[in-house]
Amino acid sequence: MKTRILGWVAFVAVAVMALVALFLVPADLNQGDAQRIMYPHVASAWLAYLSFGVTALAGIGWLWRRDIRFDSVALSGAEIGVMFTAFAIWGGMMWGRPVWGVFWQWEDPRLTTTAVLLALYAGYLLLRRLTDDPERRATRAAIVGIVAAVDIPIVHFSVEWWRGLHQTATIGSPDKILNPAAPVPFVLTLVGMVLAFTLTWTYLMIRRYQLAQADLGREESARVERIMEARAAEATR
């Protein structure tokens, strides 16, 4: 019941923030209306990384406690995370084209690191599909999730250094907005968007977790059925 309320609150928040970002907040002086894309783009990126962290931590939880619920959390984080990662990249490209003139800029640490993140998520999810035993699957996934999480900061740092050498000016980075001296309406809109998205993320995580647990139950009963059938077949031989 509480989850349902959360869901509707999140929905309203997201709808309101979308309208605010599109119509209420003023356009940027330099970038024009295209800058409005920044709000959902940054919010998505934040959630992509949060999800990733949750997946890695849940993996540690599984290895440590062997409670399969941790793995359900990890799976939820990965599936929802890959979605937000795709959103972040797409938003970044749609924002980049009008502002930078190109869809992609290799030295932008955020964009490039998020692309690597997408590849890591994809590998993680594919790996899960290839293992049927729930405990082995959880262990393999946990290991991969942890190593991938360790890699992400290294990627980010290395691309930042790459950019530093190339000395490209990054116009229109969210840094300007996150700077406290930035205009208040921009900051408020960004914060609002991030909050609305985070509420949605929480709701989706809860629902996906419930689905994962339900799937485990079905897997288990299917397995029991098969064992019973095999035994029955043997008995009648």
């Binding site: 979308a18 783009h41 749609m94 689905l211």
Partner: protein
Amino acid sequence: MTDVGYIVAAYGVIFGGLALYTVTLWRRLRRR
């Protein structure tokens, strides 16, 4: 494409995608 096109593409995919995923989750949960 004017800026509006990019904005529509960005918002459309992100917010539309969120909606789509939510609905898909609901359906998968209902089947359980």
